[in-house]
Symmetry: C2
Subunit: 338 residues, 2 copies
């Protein structure tokens, strides 16, 4: 019996915000497995901001995603068929299966498919114990390197990366201040994730008010910052940064017209002797086992909390992704592939 796959293809490149008509649902038969291949049926698809960059036809750290193919994306699911001795039918696995119900994986390539421990919820491997969690872990431990008692800030603090970042910093004895949009997200960051404070940037209409809010929340200044957003938030953090502070740069939005947002005062890099470093976590695979060990342990102990926003059905992926870019999700955005 031929299995029919459902896929969501990128069919045109968004100009500015993506629209539903940049995507199309496609049905296609699943090819028979070759030796070494594994067929995975996806349970959850992860939606992440990096995907927006791949939709452009511009030079960046990764190639543009080709049109008329399923969008890339992290997935968890179970092995449905296997022609690779290390994978058995029913094994829970995490990989980059993309926006589709099934994926055929060349499982002999190192790292493309990983069996996971079924004692944690499978979706956690797309969030706190997956790429977002490792992203936070890498930025914190490899770039920000805060000492106990130092002040750590993070933007997009209620998101999957920001939430993990703050909790990992709390485990290390730091004062942790989040920046998030709206009172509901800020309450969650403070009360559920246990940050020391959280600033609602939507209540700070300009650089001056955001700087003042940071001054109140960070009386000792800022020693290390994790940047998911850029623009005015980064400008305000730099005004409050201490000597020898470190900024891990994980995300930078562009202005509404697609032009880059400038950094208002780069001379603060010198005045504060700051270190600022951009990174892409997938380029540091050698550190993932160490990161996943800590992250999995903290989730199992209930010390690393997270929230999920689950869109129902693969067909809802484009709309959920558009909402993610507008900050409509609350916690890690997943799609339940039913």
């Amino acid at each position: 019996m031929t299995l029919i796959n459902t896929q969501i293809h990128l069919v045109s490149r968004p100009q500015g915000e993506p629209r539903a008509d940049n995507f199309a649902r496609v049905e296609a038969p699943v090819a028979a497995l070759e030796a070494g291949q594994v067929l995975v049926r996806h349970q959850f698809l992860s939606l992440d901001p990096y995907m927006r960059g791949r939709m452009n036809d511009a030079k960046s750290y990764a190639e543009p995603h080709p049109l008329n193919t399923p969008m890339i994306g992290g997935t968890v699911g179970t092995v449905e068929q296997s022609r690779h001795p290390a994978f058995q039918v029913g094994d829970p696995v995490v990989g980059m299966g993309g926006w589709q119900r099934y994926s055929v994986v060349d499982a002999q390539k190192p790292g493309v498919l990983r069996k996971v421990d079924s004692r944690l919820p499978l979706a956690a491997y797309l969030g706190a114990v997956g790429m977002p969690g490792v992203t936070a872990w890498y930025g914190l431990t490899q770039i920000m390197q805060p000492q106990q008692g130092q002040t750590v800030t993070v933007s997009a603090a209620s998101g999957a990366v920001g939430g993990a970042l703050g909790q990992l910093a709390k485990v290390r004895g730091c004062r942790v201040v989040g920046i998030a949009g709206g009172p509901e997200k800020c309450s969650y960051v403070r009360d559920e994730l246990g940050f020391d404070d959280c600033i609602d940037y939507k209540a700070c209409p300009d650089l001056k008010s955001l700087h003042l809010a940071l001054k109140v929340a960070c009386p000792q200044g800022i020693d290390a910052h994790f940047e998911n957003v850029g623009g005015q938030i980064l400008d305000a953090v730099m005004l409050r940064a201490n000597a020898f502070s470190r900024i891990a740069v994980c995300g930078m939005i562009a202005g509404y017209n697609g032009n880059p947002l400038p950094m208002a005062n780069p001379s603060l890099i010198l005045v504060n002797r700051m270190r600022m470093e951009g990174f892409i976590v997938s380029e540091h695979m050698q550190l993932w086992p160490q990161a996943l060990k800590e992250l999995g342990g903290l989730v199992a102990q209930g010390r690393l909390k997270y929230r999920e926003s689950i869109a129902q059905g693969l067909e809802s992926a484009p709309e959920a992704f558009i909402g993610l870019l507008k900050g409509r999700n609350f916690g890690k955005q997943l799609v339940l592939v039913n």
Copy 2:
């Protein structure tokens, strides 16, 4: 007999460019030495861009320079009187004597006065074998860390710091491209200092033309950059920066109105996974001996060249400093204190 000291005081804070009337010449008697003190007669005073920042009454990495006192500055000279056993009359010494003919130094404080090897020209200890040379050495070895064969760029390449930076990078087998203002400085950088190429930024009126010139001069992109200037030069370098490139930030000019110059596209820090780090060389005194050893050796071997621009007489210091900020000097700006 009471010695009369001649000093140049800062008497008012410049608004924008310093003017001659921000300074005043003052004559004052030299006090008798107390135990542990040394009287130094200065031969050369160093003029450096950092002094401009100290003239402001604004928060920075250092306190504002107090009004109605001699401006700070590096000096070389000889011991004229000594009440410290480690210093004998006639010893050549380097210190921070300031804009004056004589300084009284509490020589028991570590690091404030250093005897130097009289086999090198005394003025070298204010340039290639002094603070400018160590600044270049620190940025190159501690932040930029270029591999052999990588491409290194430096702005203000004909200056004391930039010239040393490029030559230290050549010693390490890098391709070195300078950026300087005007054909005369560019010829010097290429032909006398031995850089592989030098771009005349005055011949590049906009970001696009500067980026194009960097593309031609750096066909393999830029792996490490030393920034003395900021603004459009930094923007152009970032457009040409390779993945995992490093930028040492040593100087950042402000716009003409005193407002900070923005960085056009900070998202390149992420796209190129760049590391950008500001530093102040005086905060890393523990590395000076190692740096001075290499720098002194290279000068003695004729492998580290430099040029000096010598203003005659202490009274000429204000005008020479104003010229320095406008790029009128060619090589290390000194004042011969006669």
